[in-house]
């Protein structure tokens, strides 16, 4: 290129040749005619000396050296020497200098000056060079289009020039690697003043694209694969693209990789994977596939849609430590911070959640386990499976009070049963304390019978312990509601759990009845009275105290008074019960049930009643016995005497 540029400069300088001093660049092998004097640069040596041939006479010059030709009034000076560029500056001095390019003494020829190649292909031309001038070395140069590469080759190696005797000829090859862009391009081979123009035709590369089955059926929510065949007439790199309906996605897959471009050499096979959204309606959809200039339209027929359906998430949750499946785990789907679906795992650790299609945050949590969050995508009408491992917290415990709200009567101590469970991974010690109502006593104990308090307890991992909180009200306590706080602190995690213990203190109720007698003799048909005393043994008043008597059928029972409106603590009430057995009652023993009933309590007792047949039966019997004995005695007295 530089050579070409300097040659052009040289040509531009031609009109200036008439000036007194002319600067001239000359390459090895170049010849210039100055006012009829032939100047030829034979060679340049590495010590910056140049061999000039002037009118056939050789001169060896160094920088500043000159050759004078007096009859032509011309002096030639040697300027800068560039051995690497194979170039020298010459300064010519003389009046009316005329520079003329010397006539080419070398002839270049080829039989096939025009060749065809695919883009990027290589072509080779065979060139014959013939020396019509003097013997000498003729350097060869190649002029190529931008981005092309070319070499001059002879006898298997690259050459820079050719040495020819007068009239001799030789052959060499020009090998050119063409560019990528199709078209006709000139390639010029030059030596000295001769040049040969060659033409390289870079042909267009034809790419074809096809699919085995250009239309396929697919269910919405699934993906469909098309096998794409690419072939080309030449080697070419192509971008791949596929245009799909909105919401769909497409990928080209070669082997296991997703690809965007292909370097095609004759033929290749690709997979086009098209994902169809679950809500795509049934219908035929076009997919435009292109590789470079090649296009093809493929079709996907959606045969079943899942629009409006829920997606299903099937979960299994297991304990990462033991590997066993966990039941009772809460699994929930959240979208935008709001819960959408929630479930608990079954005994095999499985749970199934359903929700509309979309992206969700799945939260998996269980007491004593670290919560796990995961992003999941649910597709309408399809099932997504997830397996999640939970890890247990190092320290975790549960405090459960069986009945935190109690009612008790005055004078009682109140015992709350509670359970501590260490659900953490590690053994732990717990500090126990109770804040009782003011003036009350409180202890935590392991045995409800004992009054020996404990302030801490140790639980191994997985263990549970039953403990009792005992509240002891002071003697001066008044009726009402009281609250105490049970506090349990884990020494492992420092976590504190509390439970409110409430007690409602009420008065006590008690009732007893004391009959005057426990057995009663009554004549059939006659009334008999019995006094029954009723006592309120409690501290609070009893209301609506009455006496109910349960007697055999046909008996008449009267009780007075009918009802006592209120009976204070420790007070007595006296009732009179009048019992009348029916006149025809059989003589014998009967039992009546006497029950003292109040709104709050009741008590009962039994009283034996002996019914006599108006007394007459008994006496009559004795009378008859006596009478008969007397009769017997009289008979014996009267007739028994001899």
């Amino acid at each position: 290129m530089k050579r070409l540029a300097s040659f052009l400069v040289f040509l531009l300088l031609l009109p200036l040749a008439k000036a007194d001093t002319v600067f001239l660049n000359l390459y090895i092998g170049d010849t210039v005619d100055v006012n009829g004097v032939s100047v030829h640069l034979v060679d340049i040596s590495n010590d910056y000396s140049a061999m000039l041939s002037v009118n056939g006479q050789n001169y060896l010059l160094v920088f500043g050296g000159n050759v004078s030709i007096p009859d032509r009034n011309l002096t030639i000076y040697l300027g800068s020497v560039y051995p690497e560029k194979r170039l020298v500056h010459l300064i010519l001095e003389g009046p009316e200098l005329k520079l003329k390019k010397a006539r080419g003494s070398v002839e270049l020829r080829t039989t096939f000056p025009s060749r065809v190649t695919p883009p990027g292909g290589s072509v080779s031309f065979t060139i014959t060079v013939k020396n019509l001038g003097e013997d000498g070395f003729y350097p060869l140069r190649l002029k190529l289009p931008m981005g092309w590469e070319g070499k001059l080759l002879a006898e298997g190696s690259e050459i820079a020039g050719v040495y020819l005797g007068r009239g001799e000829s030789a052959s060499f090859n020009v090998v050119v690697r063409a560019g990528k862009v199709p078209g006709d391009y000139p390639v010029v081979v030059m030596t000295g003043e001769s040049s040969l123009r060659l033409t390289v035709h870079v042909e267009r590369v034809e790419v074809s694209l096809s699919a085995d089955y250009p239309e396929k059926e697919v269910e919405a929510g699934r993906s469909v694969n098309f096998r794409i065949h690419l072939s080309s007439t030449g080697e070419v790199t192509l971008p791949l693209s596929a245009r799909v309906p909105e919401g769909w996605s497409a990928r080209f897959i070669a082997g296991s990789d997703v690809v965007r471009m292909i370097h095609l050499k004759e033929r290749a096979e690709l997979l086009l994977s098209v994902s169809v959204p679950s809500d795509a309606p049934v219908g035929r959809y076009a997919i435009n596939v292109s590789a470079g200039e090649a296009h093809e339209t493929l079709y996907a027929y959606v045969n079943r849609t899942h629009a409006g359906e829920n997606g299903t998430l099937s979960l299994r949750v297991f304990d990462e430590e033991s590997g066993s499946f966990l039941p009772g785990v809460t699994v929930a789907l959240y979208r935008g911070g709001k819960p959408v679906a929630e479930a608990k795992t079954l005994s095999d650790g499985s749970a199934v959640l359903q929700a509309p299609e979309g992206d969700y945050t799945l939260k998996v949590s269980k007491e004593a386990y670290r919560e796990v969050e995961r992003r999941v995508h649910l597709s309408a009408g399809s099932k997504t499976e997830e397996t999640i491992g939970l890890t247990r917290l190092p320290y975790y415990f549960v405090l459960q009070v069986q009945a935190p709200s109690k009612s008790a009567t005055l004078g009682e101590t109140i015992t709350y049963e509670f359970t501590l469970r260490n659900l953490g991974l590690n053994d732990d010690e717990y500090h126990l304390s109770i804040v009782p109502p003011e003036g009350w006593g409180a202890i935590v104990t392991e045995n409800p019978e004992s009054r020996q308090g404990i302030t801490s307890t140790y639980l191994k991992s997985g263990e549970e312990k039953r403990l009792y909180a005992v509240l002891i009200p002071p003697d001066s306590v008044k009726l009402g509601n009281y609250t105490a706080t049970l506090r349990v602190e884990s020494s492992g995690s420092g976590e504190i759990r509390t439970s409110r213990l409430t007690v409602s203190l009420t008065g006590s109720y008690g009732i007893t009845l004391v009959p005057e007698r426990y057995s009663l003799e009554v004549n059939a048909g006659k009334e008999k009275a019995l006094r029954v005393r009723v006592k309120n043994t409690g501290t609070s008043p009893l209301t609506n105290v009455e006496l109910k008597v349960n007697a055999p059928e046909g008996w008449t029972v009267k009780v007075s008074p009918g009802k006592v409106a209120s009976l204070g603590g420790g007070d007595w009430a006296t009732f009179t019960v009048r019992v009348t057995p029916p006149a025809n009652a059989d003589a014998g023993d009967y039992v009546i049930n006497v029950e003292a009933v109040s709104d709050q309590k009741k008590a009962s007792d039994r009283i034996r009643i002996t019914v006599e047949r108006a007394g007459t039966g008994k006496y009559a019997g004795i009378g008859i016995i006596l009478g008969s004995l007397i009769l017997l005695a009289i008979i014996l007295r009267k007739y028994g005497r001899r």
Partner: protein, 337 residues
């Protein structure tokens, strides 16, 4: 004349130590039994329940009355005639212008009077005791009939003893014969009846071999539906035959039982005391279970109740007549030396 002999006999009985001892024993037994009942009632009381009925208590008493009473009757009669022989008073008596039949009738009448007094006293004391205990006597007529029945029953044994006395040479023999006859009628009649019934009723139907095999199969639980039906048919047939056989057996047994005065007495007692007792047609045995709680059972009048025991009454009266005739003939034809 009969009256004089009867009066003399009556006096003799009453003054006799035997009468006093055995009658006292009878009275003591009854009294103690009733006192025991009274004590039992007191501890056994169920609140609100009805007291025990008269027939419940009297039924228990009947055993003592039936057994000790019979011995008492025998003791009165066994030496009625032989004593006269042994004391050689008969010749003295025969020396008087009396007929032999007047003597034997007078003796029987005297014994009947004595027994009457004894039964009357027993009845009064029992009634008095019942009243004292507090048992409701709902039907005095039935109680009265009951004591009449006892009287009839005791009279059969008394006449029997007199009959043996008339035919025996000594009192000892008469007592022995009387006791043997009494025991025979009380105890031996039943087993003999059973043996005869077995003989007459023919062999008891045996279970056919086929039925046995089927039953075995059923026990093991591998019988088919058809086999089960066949088993049912055969079993029904077998049970039918067995039932028929038992009916025949009981019918024959019944005749033998009827000749036991003790059995007759028990049967009639049940009907007389318990107005709810049903006549048992199917079997020869009357069920002696009184069931006052079951009010569904109809209450019978006294005449109805007595009509249920016609046969037994007839047999008792028959015995009385038979022994009377035997005694009469025995004494009238006796050779008196």
């Amino acid at each position: 004349m009969i009256g004089a002999i009867a009066g003399k006999e009556f006096r003799d009985y009453l003054t006799g130590r035997r009468f006093l001892i055995i009658f006292s024993f009878l009275l003591a037994t009854i009294t103690l039994s009733l006192i025991q009942t009274k004590m039992g009632l007191e501890s056994w009381n169920v609140p609100g329940s009805e007291g025990p009925k008269m027939y419940d208590i009297m039924f228990g008493l009947s055993f003592y009355l039936g057994f000790i009473g019979a011995i008492f009757a025998l003791s009165l009669g066994f030496d009625a005639v032989t004593r006269e022989h042994e004391d050689r008073t008969l010749k003295v008596l025969m020396g008087h212008p009396v007929f032999r039949d007047q003597v034997i009738l007078g003796k029987l009448l005297g014994g009947a009077l004595t027994l009457g007094v004894a039964v009357a006293v027993t009845a009064l004391i029992t009634t008095g005791m019942l009243l004292w205990i507090g048992v409701t006597i709902d039907d005095y007529l039935r109680l009265f009939t009951y004591f009449l029945l006892i009287y009839l029953y005791l009279m059969t044994f008394f006449t029997m003893a007199v009959a043996f006395s008339a035919h025996s040479k000594s009192s000892g023999n008469a007592l022995m014969y009387s006791l043997v006859m009494f025991l025979a009628l009380m105890t031996i009649l039943m087993p003999i009846g059973s043996i005869v019934a077995h003989k007459l009723a023919g062999p008891k139907p045996e279970m056919p071999d086929e039925l046995k095999a089927l039953q075995e199969q059923m026990m093991q639980g591998n019988a088919s539906m058809e086999e089960m039906q066949k088993y049912q048919t055969l079993m029904d047939e077998y049970q039918n035959q067995t039932e028929k056989w038992f009916k025949r057996y009981w019918k024959i047994q019944e005749y033998f039982q009827m000749f036991s005065p003790e059995n007759d007495f028990t049967t009639i007692t049940n009907y007389v005391l318990n107005p709810y007792a049903e006549k048992s047609e199917e079997q020869g045995m009357a069920y002696m279970v009184a069931n006052p709680g079951e009010n569904e059972k109809p209450k019978h009048s006294l005449m109805e109740s007595l009509s249920f025991a016609e046969k037994e009454l007839a047999v008792l009266v028959g015995y009385l007549v038979l022994w009377f005739v035997v005694a009469y003939l025995g004494f009238v034809r006796a050779e008196i030396r």
